[in-house]
Symmetry: C2
Subunit: 250 residues, 2 copies
């Protein structure tokens, strides 16, 4: 048996999310179907760094699995890409030692949320951008980003449907944005993310950029553990799991 670590991109548009569900097209089930075929019917289970919701994309999601097959790595990549549907692509595959776990070995994750600043609907980007015509002040955005960085209890910034038991304290190492002509991209990097956390934080950042909430009010939400009337869950199509980081291993 060997353990393989696989880095994939997927377009979340036509999936009911990452995780396997009965009678739904999910990223996990498409991949497991291909692997099971390659193993002549023996069911292969894959373990990812975490789920993504319906409509959420991944530039670089990571999963691991174990296999008795002895195939060169470059052939693995080719074989998977030939059989996978065209909205999943294996970027990279490598051998890892038995202790590696896509979820528990991850030290940081980066998400990006893409916003198209436009009055008109762009039909070609409707599945890949959140579109808005509002205006956002860069210095207000900057100050709000700073308020989110560091270690906080993110209870107020996760979905009530979150199934996490135990601590909702997480550390965000980076909360930043890049602005180009008609685009605003938020970059969040941290040691862990709660359910809907990125989409809620970016929603609050946008409120801050419109002058509707101050950094002091954000601080209060950490303490009070409730959002009150602030922060919605932004739509999934702007969200990309950008990168999962692991410790360098010998």
């Amino acid at each position: 048996m060997q353990k393989l670590k696989c880095t994939i991109s997927y377009d979340g548009t036509n999936f009911s999310g990452y995780q396997i569900q009965p009678n739904k097209r999910t990223v996990q089930s498409e991949i497991e179907k291909v692997l099971t075929t390659m193993h002549k019917g023996d069911e292969i289970r894959i373990y990812s760094s975490g789920r993504t919701d319906a409509g959420v994309h991944a530039r670089a999601q990571v999963f691991h699995f174990e296999t008795p097959l002895d195939i060169p790595l470059s052939n693995w990549r080719k074989a998977l890409n030939v059989q996978l549907p065209d909205d999943i692509f294996v970027q990279h595959i490598e051998k890892v030692d038995k202790t590696f776990q896509a979820r528990f070995s991850a030290v940081q994750k980066e998400y990006r949320y893409f916003i198209l600043l436009t009055e008109d609907r762009n039909v070609f980007l409707r599945n890949y951008r959140y579109m808005t015509n509002d205006e956002y002040d860069d210095s207000l955005l900057k100050a709000a980003c700073r308020a989110f960085e560091g270690e906080h209890d993110f209870t107020a910034f996760s979905s009530a449907r979150s199934t996490v038991k135990g601590s909702k304290v997480r550390t965000l190492h980076t909360v930043d944005f890049e602005r180009s002509a008609n685009e605003l991209v938020f970059i969040l990097r941290g040691d862990g993310f709660l359910y809907h956390m990125v989409r809620i934080i970016v929603s609050v950042l946008l409120e801050a950029g419109r002058g509707d909430i101050t950094p002091a009010e954000i601080e209060e939400m950490f303490t009070n553990k409730t959002r009150g009337t602030f922060g919605k869950t932004l739509p999934p199509q702007g969200l990309f799991l950008w990168k999962v980081m692991y410790e360098e291993r010998e």
Copy 2:
């Protein structure tokens, strides 16, 4: 009654082409459905500059229709965009005189064909780019573009399924390309296009760019009216109806 000229964008991915067909989702049927609702059930027919195939996109398609409704133009645009599905968007709407015909008044059309030069499948562009890993020589491409410009009998460069009766002589005013880091965009502008003509011409241009066909051989195809083994019909997803041009009217 007034006649309105409407400029729309659409993402061709989820349509069985532009033209109405029984039990298929088409651009024309989606628009006529909305217009018919706005006219309280009176069937409204729209007339476009021409059809596009399944999977082919439009940055700026044009159609006209007649209506007894007296609604300000900006409200027309808003009302249509609220009711249309999110893969169609009305860019512009204006009043035209009775003699205007979206198809017959058009003097030129521009199509663009987008090619992503990549070894890996890009899952996010799979519906909007033709992807290839081949290499193309710019001076060979340039020379082949020149061979297509001007007035020619394009019989060899249209689908056998073409329903055009009569002359297949057309004039291409511009055949050109733009190259960026990992993209090649072909720009074709002419007075008219036969069925599959752009996708076949670009296929031959790519063969020329790989050194597989010379400008002299392209000339022969005009004369012989047959492609022989050259030129396939490239996939639809790279193709965009870019612009339809009309004479300026007083």
